[in-house]
């Protein structure tokens, strides 16, 4: 492994440093996928920085009971690195983690990963035309950087009055405490989002009682989670084309759903009818049905998939509470109907810290400007991957890249392809840097925002997709097919290019060589 780790002090002594072709931040699904594709393109000199001590990202961290993907496994994987052995239609977290670990091994990626290395700062060095990446006391240098530190990789306890006074166990769904024994205990679950609906059915099985505190109900679609028949696994193993066909069929089915989940149309109403029917058929009590019926257009917030959530809520040891929480007390919670609920543990299924304003580590661009400042409020990028002023930097899960109806990995594949094309251009044409043109980026965003207007996300609900003032910088308004088409089309003419050849030819100072 050829990685130079320089303590900050030594950096001043002008010793030549190792400059990687590409540095990838994060060893989750997407960071590893990027590495696989870079290698395939002949770019071997790369380093992956990962703050944890193993690969896996989301699926290493999501260890709560019931954790599973809610997009069929066949779609929740890379088409260039499939897994013929998925055990179920919707694989549990541990199995996805196993698959990611297997990928790291199959493609021999571990040798390029620096574990326990959390990126804290990114600065572009115009003179040297390279990124200086700080990770605590270590520094790394690279001509290009791919940001794959995850869309939902950070989580924290919510800000509820009295939370610090609670004497029982506080369990964050995103950082599950696997040592806490829930058996027979009185549990409160705060939140009814994607994680909560997976956790609650499992808790109801073991806990003494589960009180579920709901703020806003979401649309819940039935999820047919069946075991993959052995015969199918065998066929997928021997006949990869069969798996590709299955994948394509699922892809098309999800694309069709976009007509209701992305755009606010009569199909959206149809999806809501299915959601309501799901409630009607599985919830006996009229008032409970009312409490569980969402007020917003389907798709406006993330769709929930579960067939065991509604039955779990009606179990003898479970109760849904919709009164607002007034505060947390030393012994439990107090709701606004003046009652106190004593519990042994509170599970905070309150989601993730969504970094709409850019990654949580500062990124300084070409002229010393700070990405987080530029992105506070209204983040903008070009094709979700490049941002003007931040050359040679490629985002995954960047602004307006989110799918509302399809696997995130399908979109990620497009992002990886785009980054690899950009990096190849830089390497093969020996460019100092490429920086997306301001006007190209601007007109792209004008069209994005225009297209977003007719989507379900803008139909009036408040969601983590939107910034405080209701700006949508997270979702892509279109079909996955459209998104992939734009990502497959990397156009160097969209970028300002600074080339090494020009510098050499005119012998001008390097930092003036930008065209």
């Amino acid at each position: 492994m050829t990685v130079t780790e320089l303590p900050v002090k030594k950096a001043r002594t002008k010793k030549p440093v190792k400059v990687h072709t590409t540095l990838v931040i994060g060893a989750g699904f997407i960071g590893l996928g990027t590495a696989i594709k870079l290698r395939e393109a002949g770019i071997d000199d790369l380093v992956i920085l990962e703050r944890a001590d193993r690969v896996g990202g989301t699926w290493r961290d999501a260890s709560y009971p019931g954790a599973a993907c809610d997009i069929p496994s066949q779609l929740y994987s890379f088409s260039f690195a499939k897994n013929p052995g998925w055990s179920r239609a919707y694989s549990p977290s541990a199995e996805i983690l196993e698959h990611i670990e297997e990928l790291a091994e199959r493609f021999d990626l571990v040798k390029d990963i620096q574990f326990n290395t959390a990126v804290t700062k990114l600065e572009f060095d115009k003179r040297e035309a390279r990124w200086e990446v700080t990770a605590g006391r270590k520094k790394f240098y690279a001509r290009t950087v791919v940001v794959a530190s995850g869309p939902l990789s950070d989580a924290s306890l919510p800000n509820i009055t009295g939370i610090e006074d609670f004497e029982g166990a506080k369990v964050l769904s995103a950082r599950w405490d696997n040592d806490y024994d829930f058996a027979g205990k009185s549990i409160a679950v705060i939140g009814t989002g994607a994680s909560a609906i997976q956790i609650i059915p499992e808790l109801v099985k073991v806990a003494g009682s589960v009180k579920v505190f709901q703020r806003t109900p979401g649309w819940v679609m039935p999820r047919l989670d069946v075991e993959t028949p052995e015969i199918a696994k065998a066929v997928f193993e021997k006949l990869p084309v069969a798996q590709q066909v299955t994948r394509s069929a699922l892809f098309l089915a999800h694309e069709a759903a976009a007509t209701g989940l992305v755009w606010n149309t009569p199909i959206t109403s149809l999806i809501q009818q299915i959601g309501k029917l799901h409630i009607r058929m599985t919830v006996k009590d009229k008032w409970l049905r009312r409490q569980l019926t969402p007020e917003f257009r389907a798709g406006c917030k993330r769709m929930l998939m579960s067939s065991d959530y509604y039955p779990a809520l009606q179990a003898d040891n479970c109760k849904l509470i919709t009164w607002p929480i007034a505060k947390i007390t030393p012994k439990g919670l107090q709701t606004c109907d003046a009652l106190q609920h004593e519990v042994d543990a509170i599970v905070f299924a309150t989601g993730y810290d969504v970094h709409l304003g850019g990654p949580p580590y500062p990124i300084t661009g070409l002229d010393g400007q700070l990405l987080q400042e530029e992105w506070s409020g209204h983040p903008e990028a070009y094709k979700s991957a490049s941002a003007h002023g931040y050359p040679n930097l490629f985002f995954t899960c960047g602004p307006n890249s989110g799918p509302g109806h399809n696997s995130l990995l399908v979109y990620a594949q497009g992002q990886i392809e785009y980054a690899v094309s950009g990096i190849r251009a830089i390497v093969e044409q020996d460019l100092r840097w490429i920086d997306v043109k301001k006007d190209v980026q601007d007109s792209y965003n004008v069209s994005m925002q225009k297209r977003l207007r007719s989507t379900t996300w803008m139909s009036g609900c408040s969601s983590w997709y939107l910034t405080e003032d209701g700006f949508n910088a997270s979702m892509y308004p279109g079909f996955a097919t459209q998104y992939l088409r734009q990502m497959q089309d990397f156009r160097i003419r969209d970028y300002e290019v600074a080339s090494n050849a020009a510098t050499r030819l005119w012998n001008i100072p390097r930092d003036l060589a930008a065209v």
Binding site: D285, N317, C336
Partner: protein
């Protein structure tokens, strides 16, 4: 008058209280005379259920709120009316008026109100709900509380109602602000909402339920040896507060309720013949026709603290 609703919401969140904040065993029960107790029990039971009816009303309002902040405020008000009901039940319990596990029976007019709410409230437009709720708040909720404080000298009762009254003053402030917002709407829309609902079974039945409910409360108060003027004063408040709004007077239903309250207030008015016969008639309403009591009723409790879940609380 324009109110900063965000500020109001923050204030509401800040002023939460719990049954556990009150010492339900403090002395003072002895100040209630034995012969007053049965009447007090009946009165408190009605009051408690009226809070519950108000709670359900706010639940319906939350769906119709003109903006998300007001929707959130109504979500809190829904819980706060429930809180009042819980606290009043706890007073009944303190006064030894409840058997173990007993929840007082709602009277027939309240049963009707509940059934009406459960059937129609969620479909009523804001201009109807937003006019009726303030009337219920000032007339029934607001006024009844005041009576009680004059008649009952138990300090714990006073402590509880001070908290409830503080909540109510915020409710009423928001109620009339929203009523004014409703009045601000296009006259055409107001007219359409009004006319189309006037003929709807929802509003007709609603009226038939409201008249006797009001008169029954009036009669109960008189029964307790109180002067109905107090109730009338409260009903006049509806008009007074409404008049303060710039646009409130444009709401047709406001005008209807205003004129109606004038009739109620005039004890000589022939209206009382009608209303009282409705009270009388409702006593004959066959109980078997009531649908089972909706499960939101069962949320009512005087237990300040619970641990665990009673069996099947969601599976009615």
């Amino acid at each position: 008058m324009t109110m900063d609703m965000e500020e109001m919401l923050a204030k509401i969140k800040d002023r939460q209280w719990a049954l556990a904040d009150i010492d339900w065993d403090a002395p003072g029960v002895e100040l209630i005379s034995e012969d007053f107790k049965p009447k007090l029990k009946a009165f408190m039971a009605d009051l408690c259920w009226i809070e519950n009816v108000g709670a359900r009303g706010f639940a319906a309002m939350a769906k119709k709120a003109p903006n998300p902040t007001i929707a959130e405020i109504y979500r809190y008000f829904h819980a706060e009316e429930q809180r009042h009901a819980n606290a009043e039940l706890a007073l009944l319990k303190r006064w030894g008026m409840l058997e173990e596990g007993e929840i007082p029976e709602p009277n027939v007019n309240i049963r009707m109100a509940i059934e009406w709410l459960d059937t129609y409230a969620d479909d009523m437009p804001l201009s109807v709900l937003g006019t009726v709720i303030p009337m219920l708040e000032v007339a029934l909720d607001g006024a009844l509380l005041k009576f009680l404080l004059e008649e009952v000298h138990d300090p714990v009762c006073h402590q509880v109602f001070e908290k409830i009254n503080n909540d109510e003053s915020r409710h009423i402030a928001v109620d009339f602000e929203v009523l004014d917002m409703i009045g601000h709407a296009k006259a055409r829309k107001l007219a359409i909402d009004f006319v189309s609902n006037l003929a709807s079974p929802g509003l007709i039945i609603g009226g038939l339920m409201y008249l006797p409910l009001l008169n029954r409360m009036r009669n109960n108060i008189v029964d307790m040896g109180l002067q109905p003027e107090k109730l009338y004063a409260a009903m006049n408040r509806f008009e007074k507060l409404g008049r303060r709004g710039e646009f409130t007077h444009r709401v047709p239903l406001f005008q209807v309720l205003r004129v109606h309250s004038k009739m109620v207030v005039d004890s000589e008015h022939p209206y009382h013949l009608l209303a009282n016969s409705l009270v009388w008639a409702s006593e004959f309403y066959p109980r078997a026709l009531f649908r089972p009591i909706p499960t939101w009723f069962k949320e009512l409790t005087h237990e300040p603290v619970t641990k665990g879940v009673k069996n099947g609380m969601n599976a009615a």
